[in-house]
Amino acid sequence: MSHSPRIPLLALLALAALGAGPVRAADGQLALPDFASLDAKASQTVNVTLDASLIGMAARFLDPNKPEDAAVRKVINGLQGIYVRSYTFDSDFAYPQAEVDRLRRQLTAPGWQRLVQVHDARKHNDVDIYMCVEQTRVKGLAIIASEPREFTIVNLVGSVDLAQLHDLEGRFGIPKLQMQDQK
């Protein structure tokens, strides 16, 4: 009887310990490294961190009457976070491969599934596309692209619809994808 109050506490601690590891993977968000060393080396950097509140704020500045803005609204509708780190260098392979490998290891966590792996030995391009899926629900998307002079990580957190991303092609400088050709 005297031990009974401890049981809920122990159960909570056990649950917390079990949940601590896979939480970030299960919610579709990657723990992005600082990349301070890459910032210093890169000739061009894109660093975007948009949480749910900033996405909501950006959405208020999208005009629903413009088709481009309406398409963006559709894409971001189910998103809770957008994180992009992209570094362009003046010389080949200026980024540490260890950083890339560390990121890729995060994507071996349960929930993440690799959709596409492209390895072009001739052009030295590697692109991996992962999706975080939980019971048929998409919870995140991750793209890791390493090229000789560019290293990019994209992490979209939340419900991602690739078809809606496809609707954005040719707008805002987004290249025309060749998804139709694949079918």
Binding site: L50, M57, H119, N125, T152, V154, L165
Partner: protein, 112 residues
């Protein structure tokens, strides 16, 4: 002439004021006019000005906040578009890679 008219005329008949009535009235007016400025202390004259200044400051603060909010929103929009542009570019890179792998260059076929 009716009784009512008689009563009214009697009640409203001209009556001479008492001696010194005019002096007393003048003295009272002088007294009141001297006392009037003292009723509003000079310090209270700043209250309307202070209230107006506070209101103006409040309006400016609200305007500044709205402006900052708009600036932040436009910056978030710019970052959002940039993020989607990078995402599109990398998806394109992947699809081109897949396409290249499934449709190898014709030169390789003819060379065999």
């Amino acid at each position: 002439m009716t009784d009512l008219e008689k009563e009214l005329r009697a009640a409203l008949r001209p009556v001479e004021p008492e001696d010194g009535f005019a002096e007393r009235v003048r003295a009272r007016i002088d007294r009141e006019s001297r006392r009037a400025p003292r009723r509003t202390p000079p310090s209270l004259l700043w209250v309307p000005a202070a209230l107006a200044a506070s209101l103006l400051l409040g309006l400016v603060t609200v305007y500044e906040r709205e402006l900052a909010h708009e600036r932040q929103g436009l910056e978030a929009r710019r970052e959002l578009i940039e993020a989607l542009r990078v995402t599109g570019a990398k998806l394109d890179l992947a699809y081109r890679g897949v396409s290249d792998a499934s449709h190898p260059p014709k030169a390789a076929d003819t060379g065999a």
